[in-house]
Protein backbone atom coordinates (compact mmCIF):
# COMPACT_ATOMS: atom_id res chain seq x y z
CA UNK A 1 0.00 0.00 0.00
CA UNK A 2 1.25 3.44 -0.88
CA UNK A 3 -0.21 6.92 -0.31
CA UNK A 4 0.84 9.39 -2.96
CA UNK A 5 -0.35 12.32 -5.04
CA UNK A 6 -1.65 11.62 -8.56
CA UNK A 7 -2.28 14.13 -11.34
CA UNK A 8 -5.24 13.95 -13.71
CA UNK A 9 -3.82 13.18 -17.17
CA UNK A 10 -7.06 13.06 -19.12
CA UNK A 11 -10.68 12.10 -18.74
CA UNK A 12 -13.37 11.12 -21.25
CA UNK A 13 -16.93 9.82 -21.22
CA UNK A 14 -17.39 6.25 -22.46
CA UNK A 15 -21.21 6.35 -22.18
CA UNK A 16 -23.78 8.73 -20.66
CA UNK A 17 -22.68 7.78 -17.15
CA UNK A 18 -19.39 5.87 -17.44
CA UNK A 19 -16.10 7.78 -17.39
CA UNK A 20 -12.55 6.81 -18.19
CA UNK A 21 -10.01 8.66 -16.06
CA UNK A 22 -6.27 8.52 -16.55
CA UNK A 23 -4.06 9.53 -13.64
CA UNK A 24 -0.30 9.92 -13.54
CA UNK A 25 1.66 8.95 -10.45
CA UNK A 26 3.58 6.28 -8.57
CA UNK A 27 1.89 2.94 -9.40
CA UNK A 28 4.64 0.77 -7.91
CA UNK A 29 2.41 -0.61 -5.14
CA UNK A 30 -0.04 -2.15 -7.63
CA UNK A 31 0.96 -5.80 -7.94
CA UNK A 32 -1.82 -7.62 -9.85
CA UNK A 33 -5.06 -7.16 -11.79
CA UNK A 34 -8.22 -6.89 -9.69
CA UNK A 35 -6.77 -4.56 -7.06
CA UNK A 36 -8.27 -1.16 -6.36
CA UNK A 37 -7.19 2.35 -5.39
CA UNK A 38 -8.81 4.69 -2.86
CA UNK A 39 -9.21 8.31 -3.93
CA UNK A 40 -9.38 11.26 -1.55
CA UNK A 41 -11.61 13.96 -2.94
CA UNK A 42 -11.74 17.56 -1.76
CA UNK A 43 -14.51 18.17 0.75
CA UNK A 44 -15.56 14.52 1.07
CA UNK A 45 -14.64 12.65 4.23
CA UNK A 46 -14.19 9.01 3.30
CA UNK A 47 -12.11 8.01 0.30
CA UNK A 48 -13.75 6.48 -2.79
CA UNK A 49 -12.56 3.00 -3.82
CA UNK A 50 -12.29 2.30 -7.58
CA UNK A 51 -10.83 -0.76 -9.29
CA UNK A 52 -7.74 -0.58 -11.45
CA UNK A 53 -8.67 -0.88 -15.15
CA UNK A 54 -5.25 -0.51 -16.71
CA UNK A 55 -1.69 0.32 -15.88
CA UNK A 56 1.17 1.56 -18.06
CA UNK A 57 4.22 2.72 -16.14
CA UNK A 58 3.06 5.84 -14.32
CA UNK A 59 -0.29 5.96 -16.11
CA UNK A 60 -3.23 4.53 -14.19
CA UNK A 61 -6.60 4.09 -15.91
CA UNK A 62 -9.81 3.99 -13.86
CA UNK A 63 -13.25 3.44 -15.37
CA UNK A 64 -16.16 4.33 -13.11
CA UNK A 65 -19.87 5.03 -13.21
CA UNK A 66 -21.26 8.35 -12.01
CA UNK A 67 -23.62 7.35 -9.20
CA UNK A 68 -23.27 9.82 -6.33
CA UNK A 69 -21.61 12.90 -4.92
CA UNK A 70 -18.07 11.49 -5.07
CA UNK A 71 -18.19 10.21 -8.63
CA UNK A 72 -19.93 13.41 -9.84
CA UNK A 73 -17.08 15.43 -8.34
CA UNK A 74 -14.48 13.05 -9.80
CA UNK A 75 -16.05 13.36 -13.27
CA UNK A 76 -15.53 17.13 -13.13
CA UNK A 77 -11.80 16.94 -12.47
CA UNK A 78 -9.64 18.54 -15.14
CA UNK A 79 -6.17 17.62 -16.47
CA UNK A 80 -3.48 18.95 -14.15
CA UNK A 81 -5.58 18.72 -11.00
CA UNK A 82 -4.17 16.52 -8.25
CA UNK A 83 -5.58 14.16 -5.65
CA UNK A 84 -4.19 11.83 -2.94
CA UNK A 85 -4.51 8.14 -3.86
CA UNK A 86 -3.89 5.00 -1.83
CA UNK A 87 -2.64 2.36 -4.27
CA UNK A 88 -2.03 -1.36 -4.14
CA UNK A 89 -5.16 -2.19 -2.15
CA UNK A 90 -6.82 -5.59 -2.02
CA UNK A 91 -6.11 -9.11 -3.09
CA UNK A 92 -6.65 -9.25 -6.85
CA UNK A 93 -6.94 -11.96 -9.49
CA UNK A 94 -4.42 -14.80 -9.46
CA UNK A 95 -3.47 -15.53 -13.08
CA UNK A 96 -1.87 -18.84 -12.02
CA UNK A 97 -5.39 -20.30 -11.77
CA UNK A 98 -6.23 -19.46 -15.40
CA UNK A 99 -5.43 -22.69 -17.26
CA UNK A 100 -5.17 -22.45 -21.05
CA UNK A 101 -8.65 -21.07 -21.91
CA UNK A 102 -9.79 -18.73 -19.13
CA UNK A 103 -13.22 -17.10 -19.34
CA UNK A 104 -13.68 -13.52 -18.15
CA UNK A 105 -17.24 -12.38 -17.37
CA UNK A 106 -17.95 -8.73 -16.66
CA UNK A 107 -21.24 -6.99 -16.02
CA UNK A 108 -21.68 -3.23 -16.44
CA UNK A 109 -19.29 -1.30 -14.27
CA UNK A 110 -17.74 -4.66 -13.26
CA UNK A 111 -16.03 -4.78 -16.65
CA UNK A 112 -13.05 -2.46 -15.93
CA UNK A 113 -10.87 -4.69 -13.68
CA UNK A 114 -11.13 -7.48 -16.27
CA UNK A 115 -9.27 -5.34 -18.80
CA UNK A 116 -5.90 -5.43 -17.02
CA UNK A 117 -6.53 -9.10 -16.27
CA UNK A 118 -7.18 -9.87 -19.96
CA UNK A 119 -4.06 -7.97 -20.94
CA UNK A 120 -1.98 -9.86 -18.38
CA UNK A 121 -3.38 -13.24 -19.45
CA UNK A 122 -2.79 -12.46 -23.14
CA UNK A 123 0.79 -11.52 -22.32
CA UNK A 124 1.10 -14.93 -20.66
CA UNK A 125 -0.02 -16.52 -23.94
CA UNK A 126 -3.49 -17.63 -22.90
CA UNK A 127 -6.54 -17.93 -25.11
CA UNK A 128 -8.81 -15.43 -23.40
CA UNK A 129 -12.57 -15.63 -23.81
CA UNK A 130 -14.58 -12.63 -22.63
CA UNK A 131 -18.29 -12.05 -22.05
CA UNK A 132 -19.32 -8.47 -21.37
CA UNK A 133 -22.92 -7.93 -20.27
CA UNK A 134 -24.83 -4.64 -20.34
CA UNK A 135 -28.45 -3.53 -20.11
CA UNK A 136 -28.60 -2.01 -23.57
CA UNK A 137 -26.40 -1.07 -26.56
CA UNK A 138 -25.90 2.56 -25.45
CA UNK A 139 -24.36 1.37 -22.18
CA UNK A 140 -21.72 -0.85 -23.81
CA UNK A 141 -18.08 0.14 -23.48
CA UNK A 142 -14.58 -1.32 -23.95
CA UNK A 143 -15.60 -3.90 -26.61
CA UNK A 144 -12.93 -2.61 -29.05
CA UNK A 145 -10.33 -2.49 -26.29
CA UNK A 146 -10.84 -6.18 -25.43
CA UNK A 147 -10.84 -7.12 -29.14
CA UNK A 148 -7.59 -5.22 -29.65
CA UNK A 149 -6.00 -7.48 -27.02
CA UNK A 150 -6.94 -10.48 -29.14
CA UNK A 151 -9.68 -11.77 -26.85
CA UNK A 152 -12.59 -13.88 -28.12
CA UNK A 153 -15.38 -11.46 -27.26
CA UNK A 154 -19.12 -11.98 -26.75
CA UNK A 155 -21.49 -9.15 -25.82
CA UNK A 156 -24.85 -9.66 -24.14
CA UNK A 157 -27.55 -7.07 -23.55
CA UNK A 158 -30.71 -7.52 -21.52
CA UNK A 159 -32.86 -5.94 -24.24
CA UNK A 160 -31.04 -7.57 -27.16
CA UNK A 161 -30.00 -4.25 -28.72
CA UNK A 162 -26.41 -5.52 -29.03
CA UNK A 163 -24.94 -9.04 -29.10
CA UNK A 164 -26.83 -11.94 -27.55
CA UNK A 165 -30.14 -11.05 -25.88
CA UNK A 166 -30.16 -11.90 -22.18
CA UNK A 167 -27.76 -12.06 -19.25
CA UNK A 168 -24.08 -13.02 -19.41
CA UNK A 169 -25.01 -16.64 -18.62
CA UNK A 170 -26.82 -16.82 -21.99
CA UNK A 171 -23.46 -16.65 -23.78
CA UNK A 172 -21.33 -19.18 -21.90
CA UNK A 173 -18.93 -20.98 -24.25
CA UNK A 174 -18.67 -24.76 -24.29
CA UNK A 175 -15.15 -25.05 -22.94
CA UNK A 176 -13.19 -22.92 -20.50
CA UNK A 177 -10.55 -23.63 -17.89
CA UNK A 178 -11.32 -21.06 -15.15
CA UNK A 179 -13.73 -18.16 -14.71
CA UNK A 180 -12.81 -14.65 -13.58
CA UNK A 181 -15.75 -12.38 -12.96
CA UNK A 182 -16.80 -8.98 -11.65
CA UNK A 183 -20.21 -7.36 -11.68
CA UNK A 184 -23.38 -6.75 -9.70
CA UNK A 185 -24.13 -9.38 -7.07
CA UNK A 186 -27.17 -10.92 -8.85
CA UNK A 187 -24.90 -11.52 -11.86
CA UNK A 188 -22.19 -13.05 -9.66
CA UNK A 189 -24.79 -15.40 -8.14
CA UNK A 190 -25.99 -16.45 -11.59
CA UNK A 191 -22.42 -17.05 -12.78
CA UNK A 192 -21.69 -19.03 -9.60
CA UNK A 193 -24.60 -21.38 -10.34
CA UNK A 194 -23.85 -21.73 -14.06
CA UNK A 195 -20.15 -22.41 -14.33
CA UNK A 196 -18.56 -25.88 -14.43
CA UNK A 197 -15.06 -24.87 -13.30
CA UNK A 198 -13.43 -22.98 -10.48
CA UNK A 199 -13.94 -19.25 -10.41
CA UNK A 200 -12.51 -16.02 -9.01
CA UNK A 201 -15.26 -13.57 -8.05
CA UNK A 202 -14.69 -9.89 -7.35
CA UNK A 203 -17.09 -8.28 -4.87
CA UNK A 204 -18.12 -4.73 -4.16
CA UNK A 205 -19.13 -3.36 -0.73
CA UNK A 206 -19.35 -0.01 1.00
CA UNK A 207 -15.95 0.48 2.61
CA UNK A 208 -14.68 2.68 5.37
CA UNK A 209 -10.91 2.69 5.10
CA UNK A 210 -10.14 0.31 2.21
CA UNK A 211 -7.09 -1.19 3.92
CA UNK A 212 -8.44 -3.54 6.57
CA UNK A 213 -8.62 -1.33 9.65
CA UNK A 214 -12.30 -0.63 10.21
CA UNK A 215 -14.03 -3.98 9.58
CA UNK A 216 -16.67 -2.10 7.59
CA UNK A 217 -16.78 -4.52 4.65
CA UNK A 218 -16.51 -7.96 6.26
CA UNK A 219 -18.27 -10.99 4.80
CA UNK A 220 -18.66 -14.51 6.11
CA UNK A 221 -17.04 -17.42 4.27
CA UNK A 222 -17.94 -21.12 4.11
CA UNK A 223 -15.14 -22.05 6.51
CA UNK A 224 -16.95 -20.18 9.30
CA UNK A 225 -14.44 -17.37 9.26
CA UNK A 226 -14.71 -13.99 7.65
CA UNK A 227 -12.89 -11.97 5.05
CA UNK A 228 -12.57 -8.24 4.58
CA UNK A 229 -13.56 -7.35 1.02
CA UNK A 230 -10.93 -4.60 1.03
CA UNK A 231 -8.05 -6.71 2.34
CA UNK A 232 -8.45 -10.47 1.77
CA UNK A 233 -10.85 -9.58 -1.09
CA UNK A 234 -12.16 -8.09 -3.28
CA UNK A 235 -11.50 -11.36 -5.14
CA UNK A 236 -12.81 -14.51 -3.44
CA UNK A 237 -12.60 -18.04 -4.82
CA UNK A 238 -15.81 -19.88 -5.69
CA UNK A 239 -15.37 -22.55 -3.00
CA UNK A 240 -15.11 -20.05 -0.14
CA UNK A 241 -18.10 -17.88 -1.04
CA UNK A 242 -21.06 -17.91 1.34
CA UNK A 243 -24.04 -16.08 -0.16
CA UNK A 244 -25.96 -14.04 2.38
CA UNK A 245 -29.66 -13.50 1.80
Amino acid sequence: MKDSIFTVHRQRALTDSVMELQLRGDCSAITCPGQFVNLRLEGLYLRRPISVCNLDGELLTLVYKIVGKGTVQLSQMQPGQTLPVLTGLGNGYDTALAGERPLLIGGGVGVPPLYLLARTLRAEGKTVQVILGFNTASECFYAEEFQALGCELRITTVDGSAGTKGFVTAALPEAYSHVYTCGPEPMLRAVYKSIQTGGSFSFEKRMGCGFGACMGCSCKTVTGGYKRICKEGPVLQKEEILWED
Binding site: Y45, G70, R206, G208, S218, Y226
Partner: protein
Protein backbone atom coordinates in the same frame (compact mmCIF):
# COMPACT_ATOMS: atom_id res chain seq x y z
CA UNK B 1 10.87 12.52 30.41
CA UNK B 2 10.77 14.03 26.96
CA UNK B 3 9.07 17.17 25.79
CA UNK B 4 6.01 15.26 24.54
CA UNK B 5 5.72 12.77 27.38
CA UNK B 6 2.71 12.47 29.66
CA UNK B 7 1.78 10.04 32.42
CA UNK B 8 -1.53 8.20 32.21
CA UNK B 9 -2.60 6.42 35.41
CA UNK B 10 1.03 6.05 36.44
CA UNK B 11 2.32 4.76 33.10
CA UNK B 12 4.54 7.09 31.12
CA UNK B 13 3.75 7.69 27.44
CA UNK B 14 6.37 9.10 25.05
CA UNK B 15 3.60 11.27 23.63
CA UNK B 16 -0.14 11.61 24.25
CA UNK B 17 -1.27 10.20 20.87
CA UNK B 18 -3.21 6.92 20.98
CA UNK B 19 -5.08 5.41 17.99
CA UNK B 20 -8.63 4.76 19.15
CA UNK B 21 -10.18 1.33 19.34
CA UNK B 22 -11.73 0.02 16.14
CA UNK B 23 -9.56 2.11 13.84
CA UNK B 24 -6.22 0.33 14.30
CA UNK B 25 -7.10 -3.39 14.50
CA UNK B 26 -4.72 -5.22 16.81
CA UNK B 27 -1.89 -2.99 15.64
CA UNK B 28 0.38 -5.39 13.79
CA UNK B 29 -1.15 -4.69 10.38
CA UNK B 30 -0.21 -1.01 10.72
CA UNK B 31 3.37 -2.02 11.53
CA UNK B 32 3.76 -2.79 7.80
CA UNK B 33 3.28 0.94 7.16
CA UNK B 34 5.52 2.49 9.80
CA UNK B 35 7.20 1.74 13.13
CA UNK B 36 4.21 1.88 15.48
CA UNK B 37 6.54 2.24 18.47
CA UNK B 38 6.43 5.98 17.78
CA UNK B 39 2.86 5.98 19.17
CA UNK B 40 2.15 6.87 22.80
CA UNK B 41 0.16 3.64 22.90
CA UNK B 42 -2.86 2.33 21.03
CA UNK B 43 -6.23 0.97 22.00
CA UNK B 44 -6.89 -2.35 20.32
CA UNK B 45 -10.10 -3.50 18.64
CA UNK B 46 -13.01 -3.83 21.07
CA UNK B 47 -12.78 -7.36 22.44
CA UNK B 48 -15.59 -9.48 23.85
CA UNK B 49 -15.82 -12.80 25.70
CA UNK B 50 -17.05 -14.70 22.62
CA UNK B 51 -16.08 -14.15 18.96
CA UNK B 52 -18.47 -11.80 17.14
CA UNK B 53 -19.03 -11.30 13.42
CA UNK B 54 -20.87 -8.06 14.08
CA UNK B 55 -23.68 -6.41 12.15
CA UNK B 56 -24.79 -7.06 8.57
CA UNK B 57 -23.40 -4.77 5.86
CA UNK B 58 -23.51 -1.93 4.84
CA UNK B 59 -21.82 -0.95 8.07
CA UNK B 60 -20.36 2.36 6.89
CA UNK B 61 -21.83 5.61 5.59
CA UNK B 62 -20.01 8.76 4.55
CA UNK B 63 -21.15 12.09 6.03
CA UNK B 64 -20.14 15.73 5.89
CA UNK B 65 -16.89 15.96 7.86
CA UNK B 66 -17.36 12.51 9.31
CA UNK B 67 -18.70 9.02 8.98
CA UNK B 68 -21.13 6.55 10.48
CA UNK B 69 -20.18 3.04 11.50
CA UNK B 70 -22.25 0.13 12.71
CA UNK B 71 -19.60 -2.56 12.71
CA UNK B 72 -21.09 -4.17 15.79
CA UNK B 73 -17.90 -5.14 17.66
CA UNK B 74 -16.58 -7.66 15.15
CA UNK B 75 -13.71 -9.41 16.94
CA UNK B 76 -12.25 -12.92 17.30
CA UNK B 77 -13.04 -13.17 21.04
CA UNK B 78 -10.68 -12.75 23.99
CA UNK B 79 -9.13 -16.24 23.75
CA UNK B 80 -8.04 -15.74 20.12
CA UNK B 81 -6.84 -12.23 20.93
CA UNK B 82 -4.58 -13.62 23.65
CA UNK B 83 -3.42 -16.66 21.66
CA UNK B 84 -2.95 -15.06 18.24
CA UNK B 85 -3.21 -11.27 18.11
CA UNK B 86 -1.12 -10.29 21.14
CA UNK B 87 1.87 -12.51 20.19
CA UNK B 88 1.84 -10.93 16.69
CA UNK B 89 1.69 -7.49 18.28
CA UNK B 90 4.58 -8.29 20.65
CA UNK B 91 6.87 -8.62 17.62
CA UNK B 92 6.26 -5.04 16.48
CA UNK B 93 5.16 -3.06 19.56
CA UNK B 94 7.18 -2.95 22.76
CA UNK B 95 5.05 -0.51 24.77
CA UNK B 96 2.06 -1.10 27.06
CA UNK B 97 -1.12 -1.43 24.99
CA UNK B 98 -4.61 -0.30 25.95
CA UNK B 99 -6.95 -3.32 25.95
CA UNK B 100 -10.43 -2.25 24.87
CA UNK B 101 -13.14 -4.49 26.32
CA UNK B 102 -16.86 -4.71 25.66
CA UNK B 103 -19.51 -6.86 27.28
CA UNK B 104 -23.20 -7.48 27.41
CA UNK B 105 -23.37 -8.41 31.10
CA UNK B 106 -21.29 -7.81 34.22
CA UNK B 107 -20.08 -11.41 33.96
CA UNK B 108 -18.85 -10.78 30.39
CA UNK B 109 -16.86 -7.73 31.45
CA UNK B 110 -15.35 -9.50 34.46
CA UNK B 111 -14.42 -12.60 32.45
CA UNK B 112 -12.76 -10.70 29.60
CA UNK B 113 -10.92 -8.29 31.89
CA UNK B 114 -9.70 -11.10 34.15
CA UNK B 115 -8.21 -12.86 31.09
CA UNK B 116 -6.52 -9.68 29.81
CA UNK B 117 -5.28 -8.77 33.30
CA UNK B 118 -2.81 -11.68 33.02
CA UNK B 119 -1.23 -10.30 29.84
CA UNK B 120 2.01 -8.39 30.49
CA UNK B 121 1.58 -6.36 27.26
CA UNK B 122 -1.64 -4.82 28.57
CA UNK B 123 -1.03 -1.51 30.33
CA UNK B 124 -4.60 -0.31 30.79
CA UNK B 125 -8.05 -1.79 30.44
CA UNK B 126 -10.30 0.58 28.51
CA UNK B 127 -13.83 -0.57 29.22
CA UNK B 128 -16.49 0.39 26.71
CA UNK B 129 -19.83 0.82 28.51
CA UNK B 130 -21.79 1.82 25.40
CA UNK B 131 -23.03 -1.71 24.69
CA UNK B 132 -26.55 -2.81 25.56
CA UNK B 133 -27.00 -4.65 28.86
CA UNK B 134 -28.79 -7.87 27.90
CA UNK B 135 -29.99 -8.38 31.50
CA UNK B 136 -31.11 -4.78 31.85
CA UNK B 137 -33.63 -4.51 29.02
CA UNK B 138 -30.95 -3.76 26.43
CA UNK B 139 -30.24 -0.25 27.70
CA UNK B 140 -26.58 0.75 27.45
CA UNK B 141 -24.61 0.49 30.72
CA UNK B 142 -23.10 3.86 30.01
CA UNK B 143 -26.40 5.75 29.96
CA UNK B 144 -27.09 5.13 33.64
CA UNK B 145 -24.62 6.24 36.36
CA UNK B 146 -25.50 3.29 38.61
CA UNK B 147 -25.13 0.72 35.81
CA UNK B 148 -21.79 2.23 34.73
CA UNK B 149 -20.58 2.12 38.34
CA UNK B 150 -21.60 -1.54 38.45
CA UNK B 151 -19.30 -2.28 35.51
CA UNK B 152 -16.44 -0.43 37.22
CA UNK B 153 -16.82 -2.51 40.40
CA UNK B 154 -17.10 -5.78 38.46
CA UNK B 155 -13.89 -5.01 36.53
CA UNK B 156 -11.89 -3.56 39.42
CA UNK B 157 -12.55 -6.76 41.37
CA UNK B 158 -10.63 -8.84 38.80
CA UNK B 159 -7.68 -6.64 37.83
CA UNK B 160 -4.84 -4.66 39.32
CA UNK B 161 -4.26 -2.78 36.05
CA UNK B 162 -5.61 0.75 35.66
CA UNK B 163 -9.25 0.74 34.49
CA UNK B 164 -10.35 3.49 32.12
CA UNK B 165 -14.07 3.68 31.41
CA UNK B 166 -14.95 4.78 27.86
CA UNK B 167 -18.06 6.92 28.09
CA UNK B 168 -20.88 7.38 25.63
CA UNK B 169 -21.94 10.93 24.73
CA UNK B 170 -25.51 9.78 24.10
CA UNK B 171 -26.66 10.82 27.57
CA UNK B 172 -28.28 13.83 29.20
CA UNK B 173 -25.47 14.33 31.70
CA UNK B 174 -22.09 12.75 30.97
CA UNK B 175 -20.63 14.38 34.09
CA UNK B 176 -22.95 12.34 36.31
CA UNK B 177 -21.79 9.09 34.65
CA UNK B 178 -18.13 10.12 34.95
CA UNK B 179 -18.53 10.97 38.65
CA UNK B 180 -20.26 7.65 39.32
CA UNK B 181 -17.36 5.82 37.65
CA UNK B 182 -14.82 7.75 39.70
CA UNK B 183 -16.65 7.01 42.95
CA UNK B 184 -16.83 3.31 42.03
CA UNK B 185 -13.05 3.23 41.69
CA UNK B 186 -12.30 3.89 38.01
CA UNK B 187 -8.72 5.01 37.40
CA UNK B 188 -9.67 7.17 34.43
CA UNK B 189 -12.34 7.90 31.86
CA UNK B 190 -12.07 8.24 28.09
CA UNK B 191 -14.55 10.17 25.97
CA UNK B 192 -16.34 10.51 23.69
CA UNK B 193 -17.50 7.32 22.03
CA UNK B 194 -19.47 7.91 18.82
CA UNK B 195 -22.68 9.93 18.61
CA UNK B 196 -25.74 7.99 17.50
CA UNK B 197 -26.74 8.96 13.96
CA UNK B 198 -28.17 7.76 10.66
CA UNK B 199 -28.32 8.47 6.92
CA UNK B 200 -30.96 7.63 4.31
CA UNK B 201 -30.23 6.72 0.68
CA UNK B 202 -32.34 9.03 -1.48
CA UNK B 203 -32.55 6.45 -4.28
CA UNK B 204 -33.76 3.50 -2.18
CA UNK B 205 -35.50 5.71 0.43
CA UNK B 206 -34.09 3.36 3.07
CA UNK B 207 -31.42 3.81 5.75
CA UNK B 208 -27.92 3.30 4.32
CA UNK B 209 -26.75 1.24 7.30
CA UNK B 210 -28.18 -2.28 7.53
CA UNK B 211 -28.40 -1.59 11.27
CA UNK B 212 -30.42 1.61 10.52
CA UNK B 213 -28.41 3.62 13.08
CA UNK B 214 -24.70 3.86 13.76
CA UNK B 215 -22.02 5.85 15.53
CA UNK B 216 -21.04 9.21 14.07
CA UNK B 217 -17.39 10.24 14.29
CA UNK B 218 -14.89 12.44 12.49
CA UNK B 219 -13.96 16.14 12.57
CA UNK B 220 -17.61 17.24 12.81
CA UNK B 221 -17.88 15.90 16.37
CA UNK B 222 -14.72 17.60 17.67
CA UNK B 223 -16.40 20.63 19.31
CA UNK B 224 -18.95 18.40 21.03
CA UNK B 225 -16.20 16.08 22.27
CA UNK B 226 -14.05 18.98 23.44
CA UNK B 227 -16.96 20.45 25.40
CA UNK B 228 -17.60 17.12 27.15
CA UNK B 229 -13.89 16.61 27.93
CA UNK B 230 -13.85 20.09 29.47
CA UNK B 231 -16.98 19.42 31.55
CA UNK B 232 -15.81 16.02 32.78
CA UNK B 233 -12.24 17.05 33.52
CA UNK B 234 -13.53 19.92 35.63
CA UNK B 235 -15.75 17.56 37.62
CA UNK B 236 -13.50 14.57 38.37
CA UNK B 237 -9.96 14.16 39.73
CA UNK B 238 -9.03 11.04 37.71
CA UNK B 239 -7.31 11.41 34.31
CA UNK B 240 -9.43 11.98 31.22
CA UNK B 241 -8.51 10.61 27.79
CA UNK B 242 -9.99 12.93 25.16
CA UNK B 243 -11.21 11.77 21.77
CA UNK B 244 -13.73 12.66 19.09
CA UNK B 245 -12.76 14.03 15.70
CA UNK B 246 -9.10 14.64 16.54
CA UNK B 247 -7.24 14.97 13.22
CA UNK B 248 -4.25 17.27 13.78
CA UNK B 249 -1.58 18.32 16.27
CA UNK B 250 -3.64 21.45 16.94
CA UNK B 251 -6.63 19.29 17.89
CA UNK B 252 -4.41 17.31 20.28
CA UNK B 253 -3.27 20.50 22.02
CA UNK B 254 -6.85 21.76 22.25
CA UNK B 255 -7.94 18.49 23.89
CA UNK B 256 -5.08 18.74 26.41
CA UNK B 257 -6.01 22.36 27.14
CA UNK B 258 -9.56 21.17 27.78
CA UNK B 259 -8.17 18.89 30.50
CA UNK B 260 -7.34 15.63 28.75
CA UNK B 261 -4.18 13.80 29.84
CA UNK B 262 -3.89 11.84 26.60
CA UNK B 263 -5.72 11.91 23.27
CA UNK B 264 -7.15 9.18 21.08
CA UNK B 265 -7.37 9.49 17.31
CA UNK B 266 -10.11 7.48 15.60
CA UNK B 267 -11.77 8.17 12.26
CA UNK B 268 -8.72 10.06 10.96
CA UNK B 269 -6.82 6.74 10.78
CA UNK B 270 -9.39 5.40 8.32
CA UNK B 271 -8.96 8.26 5.88
CA UNK B 272 -5.20 8.49 6.29
CA UNK B 273 -3.37 5.42 7.62
CA UNK B 274 -0.44 7.69 8.51
CA UNK B 275 -2.59 10.16 10.48
CA UNK B 276 -1.13 9.35 13.93
CA UNK B 277 2.45 9.36 12.67
CA UNK B 278 1.88 12.74 11.00
CA UNK B 279 0.26 14.20 14.13
CA UNK B 280 3.14 13.05 16.35
CA UNK B 281 5.73 14.40 13.91
CA UNK B 282 4.09 17.82 13.76
CA UNK B 283 3.52 18.20 17.51
CA UNK B 284 6.91 19.83 18.36
CA UNK B 285 6.65 22.56 15.69
CA UNK B 286 3.01 23.18 16.60
CA UNK B 287 3.99 23.52 20.26
CA UNK B 288 6.73 25.97 19.28
CA UNK B 289 4.16 28.08 17.48
CA UNK B 290 2.07 28.41 20.64
CA UNK B 291 4.96 28.77 23.06
CA UNK B 292 4.46 25.39 24.70
CA UNK B 293 7.68 24.04 26.16
CA UNK B 294 6.48 20.74 27.63
CA UNK B 295 3.18 19.21 26.61
CA UNK B 296 2.33 18.03 30.14
CA UNK B 297 2.39 21.62 31.38
CA UNK B 298 -0.77 22.54 29.50
CA UNK B 299 -2.86 19.63 30.83
CA UNK B 300 -3.45 20.79 34.37
CA UNK B 301 -3.70 24.51 33.65
CA UNK B 302 -7.41 24.40 33.03
CA UNK B 303 -8.32 21.61 35.43
CA UNK B 304 -9.58 22.73 38.80
Amino acid sequence: MGRLSVALCGIELDNPVIPASGTFGYGWEFAELYDINILGSFSFKGTTREPRFGNPTPRIADCTAGMLNAVGLQNPGVDRVIDTELPKLAKCFQKPVMANVSGFSLEDYAYTCARLDKEPQVGWLEVNVSCPNVHGGGMSFGTDPAAAAGVVRAVKAVTTKPVIIKLTPNVTDIVAVAKACEQAGADGVSLINTLLGMRIDLKTRKPILANTMGGFSGPAVFPVALRMVWQVSHAVEIPVVGMGGVSSAEDVLEMLMAGATAVEVGAANLVDPFACRNIIQSLPETMDRYGIERIRDIISENRR
